[in-house]
């Protein structure tokens, strides 16, 4: 059965936009940047003929003279005393815990000669492996975690403590703060420590010690984006203010109301790992079904089997409707709502049916921050018997603990003069609180204000003292992300700057633990004794001695540090007592219903930047958003219908106004899948004191994006992500977004394949059963591809069912392979450098009307020349009774795309200098030093995966990212060449890792074990979607996957014999 689906990457492709078609035909999307290249600092060519003769004469003489000179002297400085564990040239791996967010994934840190260069998931950590307690569990890490290593080498971090904005030293700062704290406590004035969610036992003890020393001290947790709604709902329902553990792998039916659990919600890596376990169609195991109701098209929504656009403002009544349907079946009391809640095509009723059929094996989650809605969700899960099965309140999560009301209370207390001193730890309320301005003024009133921020962020700039915290790779710490499941953080590098970890600062002011004495040897980077003597290490040990017992303590503790985790058996899961009566909630829900024509703004976090705390990290900006494929900005996502009615096109801007706050000239994209009557805007952008990357008012660097936090407020206790009744009008300005969605397009060709689960059960080759095209080749099959070949034949398989499109692989690849960051301007010119991209394809789905029935309209190739999209729009509008309703109902396929290492590679045959050749291990080799930059290869590549270095990106002040300062360069992988201007580059299948793996095997006189060589993308993937290995090893995982019926090569008909096999996407729906 030939797929009847027409895929498109963006509206410009769908509408055959002129700019798009022109750009596609041209070899280069823009004119060549000759002038800019020539103006690069070391390329002065402004000279006349006379000058030329002079220079010529001079250089001939110079060359003659220079032949007397020697090449520059290079020095080698060995260790004076080599640390025993270090072998120069051989990496060391340490277990630690990611500090990118409070989710606390376990990480494995790769360090070369004492400098960390790569982070990956630790398979032992229950967070990074998604509660997999088996021995072969694999750890994943998200894009934020991958990129967080760059923050360590950020040269804009504070190098010293600050006092009133100017540099000071620890002794002065400590003395003054201690005195101030004592004065405050003596005067009975309150002291508050405001931190993000904390679950580190040692840190919490340090704070407790602080609080017991200063009687007026209290500790408040506050998160920029909180889960206040769930916490409060659980407090009301179960008397426990906590977030349960969700087991997505145990659920046969997953229903999510706007919760982006694969992208940003609570613990995305953990959830992705668990979710994917049940998403691979396999014999003897039922694939789960995932239904998503949402307004913005989220990463999770793109992966759903069924996705229904839902107006977020009405979520309450939809939840109530679902509740009532289940309650009706179960014989419970219903919620009395006046407004009938049903979505198009009885989808709620059908969802209720599915949930009831899978009672106890289902999971309903909601991304709302409204405690009342979360209580309904609790009620639904309780009726279905999901507690104790897929929801676990006994082995709960500690990852987010903050409720919003605490911060409002603090602000009131400061203004009332009850609190005289505040210490900010990992929070930046001046930026991320909706009353940021009020906070800034309040901080001014304080007698003592301290921030632990590692850079001079918005809050730190307002504080009298800044005591910069270490990066997590420089710190000792522990964590308890899940109840009784511990993780450890150990330093991998000595502090780069004169910083001190926050816990030590607190302890030095309270119990008088002093700053570690600077080891003079450490300064000279010779012999580092500093960590052994870190007082916080000793402190942490004393905390752990109580837990582990004194007997064999050091051995036991060292084992914990080695593993990075201390996992214990989970507690038996109980069904909690529940007696909440929801029946009276109806009037509240009725009051929330959106009026006709009202537009709701739905705030969300981007998969890359999240809450914006790492806004100075260029990789997170450069990573295209998994859904919109926009880099370097946030923007308003508009539904097509609204855009048409307001005459807003791509490149325009809008003004939005709600609750007395307005944002003007915000860039827009028309987002397929955006529910009509809603718009979306990402939080975390618009920083004014992030630094040279994220924006800094002090340095006159424009903010990246706009700050949406002022909208994130709530009338009752918890802040609401939904802003009701937004006025949207077209702005005056125009703005070009750096959107990669149609770059490198391979439009018009059949590149993704999908089938329904039902069809797959009947025929495992479903969706992939196109007759093989006739292949002709003028080449002989090389020896290494014949049977009985002795060497390796490297290949990759990517399961489109597993890949969620999260983008972790993109960042991982770039860091492993020293890929430069090019910035917004270059991306607009289609010059992004990433070796791996994730192509996101849209297709109109089956109207979203009926689950389980085919829709005759979407059969066959409906997008024909004669018909055109405009005619289709009209026809569908008539059918659906609303304009552009089909734009709401798109389905998405994510396809990671990198060099396919073709056996008969088109790039190789056109290179005039043999810079790209084939190896006997099936690799398409790129030799930079042979390349003369003709770009023929790039043009001849059917997959468009070759990248040209338009500039020398290192040491180039126009690209002031990590490659342009001494500190930032520390992250460079020493085993991979840093490319220069004028050469092509592309995915190498991580050849450096292949060579390393082979060499290890040779040294140990054995063959290479399967799974020993892992590419950077594979290692990072939280979904285990990528498998790499040797095809000449019959037993390898890759060989097994190559025999899988779902496997296909992209553009197989070209007979380029690609080495990457994709596995057909199987959707658990009745229709494709």
């Amino acid at each position: 059965m030939a797929p009847s689906v027409k895929y498109w990457k963006g509206e410009e492709e769908l509408l055959r936009d002129q700019a798009f078609t022109t750009a596609q035909k041209n070899e280069f999307a823009e004119d060549l940047p000759l002038q800019e290249v020539l103006e690069e600092s070391n390329f002065e060519l402004n000279s006349s003929r006379r000058d030329f003769l002079k220079y010529f004469g001079f250089s001939v003489t110079a060359v003659t003279l220079a032949s007397c000179f020697k090449a520059p002297i290079r020095n080698a400085v060995p260790y004076l005393v080599k640390p025993e564990e270090i072998t120069p040239g051989v990496p060391l791996y340490y277990s630690s815990t990611c500090g990118g967010c409070s989710t606390a994934c376990g990480v494995e840190v790769k360090a070369r000669e004492g400098r960390p260069i790569k982070l990956d998931g630790n398979g032992r950590s229950l967070i990074s492996n998604g509660n997999d307690r088996s021995a072969e569990a694999k750890g994943g890490l998200c894009a934020v975690g991958q990129a967080s290593i760059l923050s360590l080498y950020d040269n804009e971090r504070l190098a010293n403590p600050l006092k009133k904005g100017s540099e000071s030293d620890w002794t002065t700062v400590d003395a003054e703060i201690s005195k101030s704290l004592n004065d405050l406590a003596a005067a009975g004035s309150g002291i508050a420590i405001v931190s993000g969610s904390l679950h580190s036992p040692s840190t919490l003890k340090a704070i407790a010690d602080f609080s017991s020393k200063f009687s007026t001290a209290r500790h408040i947790m506050w998160d920029a984006v909180s889960y206040s709604g769930i916490l409060e709902a659980n407090e009301t329902d179960f008397g426990k203010k906590l977030i349960p553990s969700y087991y997505f792998d145990k659920a046969q039916v997953i229903v999510s109301f706007g919760a982006d659990f694969l992208g940003t919600w609570i613990s995305p890596v953990e959830f992705t790992k668990a979710y994917v376990r049940n998403r691979i169609p396999a014999q003897g195991k039922e694939m789960s079904k995932h239904i998503q109701f949402e307004s913005n098209l989220s990463l999770t929504g793109t992966n759903a089997d069924e996705r229904f656009p839902m107006k977020a403002g009405n979520e309450g009544i939809y939840l109530a409707a679902l509740y009532n349907k289940i309650a009706q079946a179960k014989g419970g009391r219903q919620i009395q709502v006046a407004t009938s809640g049903e979505l198009a095509g009885n989808s709620l009723a059908q969802t209720a049916d599915l949930l009831l059929k899978n009672a106890g094996k289902s999971l309903v989650v909601s991304g709302s921050n409204d405690p009342k809605l979360q209580m309904i969700v609790n009620g639904i899960n309780m009726m279905l018997g999901n507690y104790g099965q897929t929801i676990d309140l006994d082995n709960y999560s500690n990852q987010f603990k903050a409720v919003d009301r605490d911060m409002d209370a603090l602000l009131a207390d400061i203004n009332a003069g009850k609190v005289g001193g505040v210490i900010f730890y990992n929070v930046n309320p001046v930026y991320s609180h909706h009353q940021g301005k009020a906070f800034k003024e309040a901080i001014g009133k304080l007698k003592l204000s301290v921030s632990f921020a590692s850079s001079k962020d918005e809050t730190a700039s307002a504080c009298a003292y800044v005591c910069p915290d270490n990066h997590f790779l420089e710190s000792w710490n522990d964590a308890e992300p899940k109840a009784n499941q511990y993780q450890f953080t150990q330093p991998v590098i000595s502090p780069v700057f004169n910083t001190r970890q926050a816990q030590l600062s607190l302890l030095s002011w309270s119990v008088g633990i002093q700053n570690p004495e600077q080891d003079p040897m450490a300064d000279k980077q010779i012999m580092n004794q500093r960590f052994q003597t870190s007082p916080f290490y000793t402190y942490m040990q004393s905390v752990w001695q109580e837990k582990l017992g004194a007997e064999n303590f050091q051995t036991h503790f060292n084992q914990c540090l080695h593993d990075g985790v201390l996992t214990s058996e989970p507690k038996p899961v109980m069904v909690p007592a529940y007696a909440t009566d929801l029946s009276s909630m109806g009037s509240y829900l009725d009051s929330t219903v959106s009026k006709e024509g009202q537009v709701d703004l739905v705030l969300y976090q981007k998969v890359g930047l999240r809450d914006g705390s790492m806004a100075n990290n260029p990789w997170l900006h450069e990573l295209p958003d998994p859904v919109s494929k926009v880099c370097w900005d946030n923007y308003v996502t508009l539904p097509k219908a609204l855009a048409v009615s307001k005459d807003i096109n791509l490149g325009d801007t809008v003004n939005i106004k709600a609750a007395g706050i307005s944002l003007n000239n915000v860039p827009v994209i028309i987002q397929p899948g955006q529910a009509n009557g809603t718009i979306g805007l990402a939080l975390g952008y618009g920083r004014t004191a992030a630094g040279k990357v994220g924006g800094s008012a002090e340095k006159a660097i424009d903010s990246v994006g706009v700050n949406a936090y002022p909208f994130f407020q709530g009338s009752n206790s918890s802040r609401s992500l939904v802003v009701r009744g937004v006025e949207v009008s077209k702005g005056d300005a125009s703005y070009t977004l750096a959107q990669t969605q149609t770059h490198h397009t391979i439009e018009g060709r059949n590149h993704v394949r999908e089938a329904t689960y039902a069809d797959w059960k009947k025929n495992p080759k479903a969706g992939n059963d196109e007759p093989k095209p006739h292949m002709y080749t003028v080449w002989q099959t090389p020896e290494y591809r014949r049977k009985g070949a002795t060497g390796h034949l490297w290949a990759m398989a990517i399961d489109l069912n597993a890949c969620t499109g999260c983008g972790s692989c993109v960042v991982s690849c770039s860091i492993e392979n020293n890929v430069p960051i090019v910035g917004r301007k270059e991306i607009i010119l289609r010059r992004e450098m990433t070796w791996i991209r994730i192509d996101r394809y849209y297709a109109f789905s089956n109207d979203g009307v009926v689950i389980g029935k085919t829709n005759e309209h979407f059969e066959g190739p409906y997008l024909t020349k004669e018909k055109g999209i405009a005619a289709l729009d009209k026809e569908l509008a008539a059918k659906q009774g609303a304009a552009y309703a089909h734009y709401e109902n798109v389905k998405v396929v994510h396809q990671p795309m990198m060099c396919q290492h073709c056996g008969q590679a088109p790039c190789e045959t056109v290179c005039p200098v043999l810079a790209t050749t084939h190896s006997t291990e099936g690799l398409n080799q790129m030799t930079y030093n042979r390349c003369i930059g003709t770009k023929y290869c790039g043009n001849n590549c059917p997959y468009k995966v070759r990248r040209f270095n338009w500039y020398r990106f290192n040491n180039n002040s126009n690209f002031d990212y990590h490659f342009n300062n001494e500190l930032g360069k520390m992250v460079i992988n020493p085993d991979v060449t840093v490319r220069t201007r004028g050469v092509m580059e592309k995915c190498s299948f991580c050849i450096q890792k292949i060579q390393e793996g082979k060499l290890k095997a040779k040294r140990e006189k054995r063959s290479v074990n399967d799974g020993e060589v892992k590419t950077a993308c594979q290692r990072a993937c939280p979904a285990n979607a990528i498998v790499f290995g040797d095809l000449n090893d019959e037993q390898s995982e890759i060989s097994k996957l190559y025999r899988n019926e779902r496997g296909f090569h992209v553009l197989e008909e070209l007979n380029v014999q690609s080495s990457v096999k994709y596995l057909t996407k199987i959707r658990n729906t009745e229709t494709v």
Binding site: V81, T87, P88, T917, D975, R1006
Partner: protein, 438 residues
Amino acid sequence: MRVLHQLQSKFRLAGFVALIAAFPSLNAQDAKKGKEIFDANCASCHGIQNRGAGPALKDVHNRRSEEWLLKWIKNNEALRKSGDAQAIQVFNDNGGAIMPAFGSLADADIKDILGYIKEESAKAPKKAVVAPGGVDKKDETPDSTLYVLLALIGLFLVVFLLLARVKRDLDRLAAAGQGEAIDETPKGNFIQRLLPGPLARMNPVVLTMFALSIFGILGFVQFYEYGLSEVGVQKGYAPDQPINFSHKIHADEYAIDCKYCHSTADKSKSASIPALNTCMNCHKSVQARDKYDGEISPEIKKIYTALDYDPEKPANEAYGKNPRPVRWVRIHNLPDHAYFNHSQHVNVAGLTCQTCHGPVQKMEKVQQWSQLTMGWCINCHRETGIQVAQNDYYEKLHEKVKADIAKNGDKSKYKDKNGRVVVTAGMNGGLECSKCHY
């Protein structure tokens, strides 16, 4: 330069022999035997005038009784355990450094040693005798020598030409004097007249071309060498190092294995310059004082300075707080885009260090022996065999080779023209770009 070095070291050796010969002959029988025993057993830790790992032994016979010394030397641990206050004192004074027990020495032997110490103690500290050539002069670069030579050759050429012309004129005048007819109009042009006879008879165009091509070749050679050095090819590069470390002494005379110091060569991409702590394994006690009039060798002193180590302190004390790392000059510099791994070559291929680095053990001062160009690498990969039989990694390849030879006999591609079985690195993909460039 190498010749010069060899000369220098010969001189140095000669000086050393002279020094030994200058010693007054030893008269006491027991002291002579004592020296032998001392050298064999004690000298690695003790000096007479100076301390090594253990204290200096000058006048030890006055400080301690012979009976005590016998006990101490035979088993100092037992003596300490017996509660002997002196023994414990000595042990503590030297920072608890453990001296091995010498139970195997007979009392007479120990007495001989003491005799030797007694005799040595009586002598004044040695006078400095600097061996000729012992101090390295700053080397002149070979390039400047070449230029001086070239300039001289040029000068001589001009002088020669002038003289030739003078001779010609004189000959003509002489001929005129003898009444022979003088050809008033000399044949040929100015240059031809300038040149001596045989050259003048040659075609001037050919001659000019010839001269130009000689200059051209010389120029090209210069330019080529310059070009090579510009791209990092610097064969023969032997820079001065901050410490005049002699591989000849260490690797040849003392036959210390290369991998004792370059210990990571078989497990890492980098063979690594040893940490100075490695030097101290020996140089805590080896101080070459005999060559420097009782003073520590200035080169060894550089190690102590670098580590901020005080040789007068007990041997196991930590280094000082003010170390100054040594900045060696890198000799072997591969370009950044070439990946080279020592362990692949040393461990897997089993090559000796000398294959690429040349006879380092004969080098007073290390120089780059090989060209280290890609062509040089590739040639070796084309010629050098893989040890397929000894390494299970190559099991499949080995089977294939065996099968191929069984099938094709001498015509097998795995046999060279002499009939030897050769499986080269090149045959196994060792010539492919991304084996070294990525």
